[in-house]
Symmetry: C2
Subunit: 284 residues, 2 copies
């Protein structure tokens, strides 16, 4: 994949493998990509066509029951890292009919009384769809661990439960891409400050954001453990440096394209007599 | 609204009022709009900013529980009239996080055993969302009537049930915009033929499309009755000439903007002490 500004395959260079250390990855780096912001905008616009066609092929197959494939993009990050921008600028580039978005907030009392994977299972994408999880079951081993919302044994149990769950989902035909958008605390401070400085951004600010921010090292440690315990062949993690929004968007776009290419979607072949239909239509 | 190529307000000129006759509206006309295809593309791109900001304001309000407003766009049309293009090119211009799409196919056996409005009620947009119905409960008085899937008394009952239902939905804060995309049978023939001529479009073609096409006058009569019985102040119908895709998209964009403007969404005011938070953030 040496097209455009990429000199490496994003799905290889950003993938979490054994030995990965989050603290060694610079949040303002742009692994595998040589271009700047200007070039990135062009590359993003250019590749949206390819992403769109792949998605349409997958969708077309699902309309005639020819595929069991789906794609699930899981987005996790500290606040203001740009999940919303990925949804808007990357996922927003494909036909909305083929996208299923699920934003997971703090669980309700009813959800809390159930197994933590249950509400996630309900929102898995159907064949033909790109599903996007804005936060996910990983909150249950991130804030769940950092804030001690569950005891240590339960957190341990959850890693295994997640792996079993994702393995089953992958085996059913869904390509799972798990992305952590990695920003620096300095960049987060700037972004939160901007929200405070602009009245039209006040609604995006929550005083609780600063409380979470004070636990930054704990969150990074929790993410590191998540990567070690749950980055599997069936459902690998990708850590995407996100201090440069343009890089993060471009990288996630590449990851989506790569996942769709793996499903190798083909235009369905007509199950009717095309020439006979042309005549029937012409006569109508 | 004399901006751009518009010389009339789409939400007035396209609205179905008493005395409306479908057969008098040319499917290749462009009511209220002076521009051509080229200018329309520019106007569409220009207005997407305004649509996007209105949607974001509505969304922002809903995030802080300050609104009960939502928008529901109902799309009805003969096959190939361009519903998908509206979803992709008009609705696709706003943040996908704030959109709830529902495509209604032929009802399942389970749905058929229930009241026809039940599956529709389940998919109504929550406050803050733009909901889009790709087909809707109107199928139950369109194909339902043309194909005699229900008897005449039941069809009669449904018009009243729809009006009562929509009146309740509107009273709860949802702006309802019902759009019929109006194409000519000649234009449909061209579009269906193109699907037959391109292997990558075969999946969009269904031999049943020609069967429905043969019932064109019956469908137009059924639509005319729908307009007469269900175009209400709470939930008006708009008939959008759609032989020119660029006009239909532009017109529906105007209808959405107009509906959002009616809800007059405002950026939420901070419920925290902005200056205190700036200090707390700076110190973090």
């Amino acid at each position: 994949m040496s097209t455009h500004g990429w000199h490496a395959d994003a799905s290889e260079i950003l993938r979490v493998d054994s030995g990965f250390r989050l603290e060694r990855l610079e949040a303002d780096s742009t692994p595998g990509y040589d271009g700047d912001k200007h070039r990135a905008a062009k590359d993003l616009a250019h590749r949206v066509q390819e992403l769109g066609e792949l998605q349409e092929r997958l969708w077309a197959q699902s309309r005639v029951d020819e595929t069991r494939h789906a794609v699930l993009l899981v987005l996790q990050a500290m606040d203001s890292a740009g999940k919303g921008g990925i949804v808007r600028h990357v996922v927003g580039g494909v036909d909305p009919q083929g996208v299923e978005l699920a934003a997971f907030k703090a669980p309700t009392d009813e959800e809390r009384a159930q197994d933590f994977l249950r509400r996630v299972e309900k929102r898995l994408p159907s064949p033909g769809y790109i599903g996007v999880f804005d936060r996910s079951h990983y909150e249950d081993v991130l804030i769940g661990k950092v804030r001690s919302l569950a005891d240590a044994a339960e957190i341990e149990r959850r890693y295994d439960a997640i792996n079993a769950f994702e393995s089953r989902v992958a085996a059913s035909g869904t390509r799972i891409i798990k992305v952590m958008l990695h920003i620096s605390p300095e960049e987060q401070k700037e972004r939160l400050m901007e929200r405070l400085e602009r009245p039209d951004k006040h609604w995006k600010y929550n005083p609780g954001d600063v409380d979470e921010r004070l636990l930054w090292p704990d969150y990074m440690a929790a993410y590191q453990t998540v990567f070690e315990r749950t980055s599997t062949d069936a459902a690998p993690w990708y850590v995407v440096p996100a201090d440069h929004k343009w890089y993060a968007r471009l990288a996630v776009q590449e990851l989506l394209i790569s996942a769709l290419q793996d499903t190798d979607p083909q235009w369905p072949v007509a199950d009717f007599d095309v020439e006979a239909e042309k005549k029937r239509l012409a006569a109508s």
